[in-house]
């Protein structure tokens, strides 16, 4: 059916959604207006060689991280979904896990292990090797981000590869295609949208990353912005750099939404019941396992092992940060409040975008995602400018910090809530209404209980993102306020590595807790989906 005239968004939903989107765009909008206001100064500043260098360095990192993550993801995903490799379930469960390692933890481990006077060098000293190639700068940042980012492509690619109808391969091979010809000519083109959308996530992650590049001293936009903000009295350059970075991100988001409109055509019938003919590895079985094993070793096992080893040493040598408990309480508190705030702010937008197809709905959804794409440091800076001018009482208070988090992470909740709303058959809601239940009653008795796993999932995501967040906390947090993340960053800046490791372990342990609940709930949900 075409646009249904009576399908107007009820005011009860529209007003809060518009208000939330307006609030979340306010700081960024202010950054634009302010920076364009002093355009003449800005142009003078921005056309310096320094800015061009920052741009080139950032672009270099984005391109290299993206291509190396793509290679790792393609290879590992092909091994896991298309071959008869042993222990498939374990591999495919473990390979996305580096996702949970915060980038500053990854960078911190790289410094500990590969840095000057690091563990590797100490181990090699008896053999006469006194100098390792410098890990600071591009090499370290590239290595760290590659192994943290490949899971984004791996995950989108894996679901796409699993959804490709196995019959395609049978048809291609029965018409004389060799396996590799089939893979290159048919499967790879079908996977292109998935690879692109995963890559866009990697690009956004790399552009936004502050933790790894700051610890490894590689001057991308984010770290330069921070340096300018800290060092210079005049903050025009920081604002100008933020503006450029924001524009780049908005351009990428625009490109992504265009692409999404063209449709992801890999989605074929997932219930296709013919089983897929698997590529027999035979003598390649062991080399393939070694490849996957080394990816996991670098991306997950080595970082976690050293982190725990150092934390253990820290505990033994009594270097536990004195305020560890209050740091943990702070981290958990702001993360829980942000998760709740994100639900309060994001649910009306999720309901609108899931149920209405009007232009306003699309506009609301797209603009609410801007906060997610724009790097934390830019959000933080624009809030600083805005707060210093218009909300002095709120500036550097916890509510303001949570406001910043919510702008950034609310889209994660919207996405999760929306996708669970979309699995809900609209006839179910209509059944409740025809049985006499009001709009609010239907929401409370039907929508809320059925979509609660999605809501819980979304809130856990927000919790996880907040507890790992670094740049916004550094800039917007009250002066005497610290979280585990800022403590880790500060400690490793000052080379208190054992202290830093302890904070890192606590972050990871706390992040794991909601994931357990998540698995249980997604199982129940899959039952409901099965019923549908």
């Amino acid at each position: 059916m075409n646009a249904d005239v009576s399908n107007k968004i009820p005011r009860m939903l529209l007003l809060p959604a518009v208000f939330v989107v307006f609030l979340s765009l306010l700081p960024i909008g202010y950054l634009f207006i302010r920076t364009f206001g002093s355009l003449s100064d800005l142009i003078y500043i921005l056309f310096r060689l320094q800015v061009l260098l920052i741009f080139i360095k950032t672009a270099l990192l984005v391109v290299t991280v993206c291509s190396s993550s793509m290679l790792i993801a393609l290879l590992s995903c092909w091994l896991v979904t298309r071959t008869d490799i042993k222990f498939k379930a374990i591999w495919s469960g473990m390979l996305p896990m580096p996702l949970v390692v915060p980038s500053y933890v990854g960078a911190f481990i790289i410094i500990i292990v590969l840095g000057p006077k690091g563990m590797l060098q100490k181990a090699l000293e008896p053999f006469g090797i006194l100098n390792l190639p410098d890990i600071y700068g591009f090499k370290g940042a590239w290595l760290t981000l590659t192994f943290l980012c490949y899971p984004y492509i791996f995950l989108t690619l894996k679901s796409a590869m699993e959804n490709i109808d196995p019959a395609l391969q049978e048809i291609a091979q029965s018409s004389g295609y060799s396996y590799w010809k089939y893979f290159l000519k048919i499967e790879l083109p079908l996977l292109r949208p998935a690879i692109t959308s995963g890559s866009i996530l990697v690009i956004l992650y790399t552009l936004s990353d502050f933790g790894a590049v700051s610890l490894l001293r590689y001057q991308t936009f984010t770290w330069s912005i921070y340096l300018q903000y800290q060092a210079a009295f005049d903050r025009t350059l920081a604002a100008g750099l933020s503006l450029i970075l924001a524009l780049i991100v908005i351009l990428i988001l625009y490109f992504e939404s265009k692409m999404r409109k063209n449709g992801y055509y890999y989605r074929t019938n997932a219930r296709a019941s013919t089983s897929r003919p698997l590529f027999k590895l035979n003598k390649w079985q062991i080399p393939a396992s070694i490849v996957l094993g080394s990816i996991l070793l670098i991306g997950l096992i080595i970082p976690l092992f050293f982190l725990m080893y150092l934390a253990f040493q820290g505990v033994v040598t009594d270097q536990v940060p004195k305020n560890l408990l209050s740091l943990s309480v702070n981290s958990v508190m702001v993360s829980v409040i942000t998760a709740i705030a994100a639900f309060g702010a994001g649910s009306s937008i999720a309901l609108i975008t899931a149920k209405y197809k009007s232009r306003i709905a699309v506009l609301l959804e797209n603009t609410s995602y801007i906060g997610f794409g724009i790097p934390g440091i830019v959000i933080a800076l624009s809030l600083v400018f805005f707060g210093a001018n218009y909300a002095n009482i709120l500036y550097q208070t916890i509510p303001f910090l949570i406001f910043g988090y919510t702008i950034m992470f609310m889209p994660a909740l919207i996405g999760a809530f929306k996708s669970s709303l979309l699995t809900l058959n609209p006839r179910i809601e209509e059944s409740a209404k025809i049985l006499g239940e009001s709009e609010i009653g239907t929401f409370r008795r039907i929508l809320l209980p059925i979509t609660s796993p999605g809501i819980y999932y979304g809130m856990s995501l927000v919790f996880l993102l907040t507890i790992k967040e670094l740049p916004v906390t550094l800039i917007l947090g009250p002066l005497d306020f610290g979280t585990l993340a800022t403590a880790l960053w500060n400690a490793s800046e000052e080379a208190f590595f054992l202290e830093a490791a302890i904070s890192g372990v606590v972050i990871i342990v706390i992040s794991i807790i909601p994931i357990f609940g998540l698995n249980k709930l997604t199982n129940e949900r899959s039952l409901w989906v099965h019923y549908k």
């Binding site: 075409n2 006839r427 025809i434 059925i450 409901w528 549908k532």
Partner: protein, 355 residues
């Protein structure tokens, strides 16, 4: 004539440039079941959703039980229309068990007695604590029926409720649902695309095409006296043959039949020929064939034949298994109507009594 329970006057609804429902008038009496049948996209589901209140007409009037539900001054919300609805996929609440689903809209103190008797009615006493996903498709639809009866609706709307079920269960649940509706003296509108189902369920049949009601009447009337060529082809699944009326006879390629009419009428028309009015025999030496067997489909106790007449017209017919004719063979088709025949003269319906 009983009291009117549902009345639609000049109801129209467009979606963009499509007239989904175009000037529909309908009346359903208390306790009667109206089957609305039509091809997909004819507007039947939209019409049902307008009556339920999920969508609103662009114009017209809708009355339920004599009370205005929608017109220029009234718009009673879905919740207040006191209607029940059963959807194609049941739409049970997936997080509630059978008992809770049926008791969804009833007061707490009435739940026990009402739900208990409804469960007995639909034969699911043993499954009262099961979750929807543990039920078969037929059981889910029984729960959906019980759930909508629980609120004592004044009318019940059924939107292709059986089309997701296996054919065997479909027949069984059809008779069961009909007898329950009759037991409750329920006024119902039943939407389907299956003319067999419409015939079986409906006290009245409304045939819909392109947003309009083509014909409405009791099942026998609609079946035997189709008012339009579409009705004859879609609903009666009849063959349409070219014919000539002349000298008090109706002549087709395969037959010549005397009619009880004025001998001076003379013109070309289209004749409605039901499959059951045709018979085939193998051609013999004495009689040459007038058709070829193009296709034969085995249907269990009968054969379904498609024949190509020598003048290139095709006809369908059903014949018992006792006489089998091979595909490709030349046959003689005989046409023997009784009572009256229906013809279309440039779209206008004409009936003639067979002499």
């Amino acid at each position: 004539m009983g009291t009117l329970q549902i009345e639609l006057k000049n109801i129209s609804k467009r979606f963009g440039n499509t007239k989904a429902v175009n000037n529909v008038n309908l009346k359903v009496e208390k306790g009667s079941i109206l089957s609305i049948v039509g091809p997909s996209g004819c507007g039947k589901t939209t019409l049902l959703r307008l009556i339920a209140g999920f969508d609103h007409p662009d114009q017209g009037e809708l009355l339920i039980n004599g009370n205005p539900m929608w017109d220029q001054d009234n718009n009673v919300p879905v919740q207040k229309r006191n209607t029940g609805m059963i959807f194609q996929d049941g739409a049970l609440f997936p997080h509630l068990n059978v008992q809770q689903n049926i008791g969804f809209a009833i007061n707490k103190d009435q739940i026990k007695s009402t739900v208990g008797s409804l469960l007995e009615l639909v034969g699911l006493k043993a499954k009262e604590t099961n979750m929807p996903h543990e039920l078969s498709g037929g059981e889910q639809q029984r729960v959906a029926l019980a759930r909508s009866l629980a609120t004592n609706p004044s009318i019940l709307l059924l939107d292709e409720p059986f089309s997701n079920l296996d054919i065997q269960i479909r027949k069984e649940i059809r008779t069961e649902v009909k007898s329950i509706l009759k037991l409750y003296d329920m006024t119902a509108i039943f939407v389907t695309h299956d003319q067999q189902e419409a015939l079986e369920m409906g006290d009245q049949i409304a045939l819909m095409k392109d947003g309009q009601i083509e014909q409405i009447g009791i099942p026998e009337e609609v079946y035997l006296n189709p008012k339009t060529q579409f009705a004859a082809e879609f609903f009666c699944q009849a063959n349409i043959l070219n014919c000539e009326i002349d000298q008090g006879k109706i002549t087709t390629f395969i037959s010549e039949i005397d009619l009880d009419i004025d001998k001076n009428t003379s013109r070309a028309m289209k004749l409605v020929v039901y499959p059951h009015q045709l018979r085939i025999e193998n051609s013999s030496k004495t009689e040459e064939g007038n058709a070829f067997v193009k296709k034969r489909i085995f249907q269990g106790n009968t054969y379904n034949y498609t024949l190509e007449l020598l003048n290139k017209e095709t006809v369908n017919l059903i014949q018992s298994m006792s006489e089998i004719v091979e595909e490709g063979s030349s046959v003689v088709v005989r046409y023997s109507p009784s009572g009256f025949v229906v013809c279309f003269d440039k779209g206008d319906q004409k009936t003639f009594v067979v002499a």
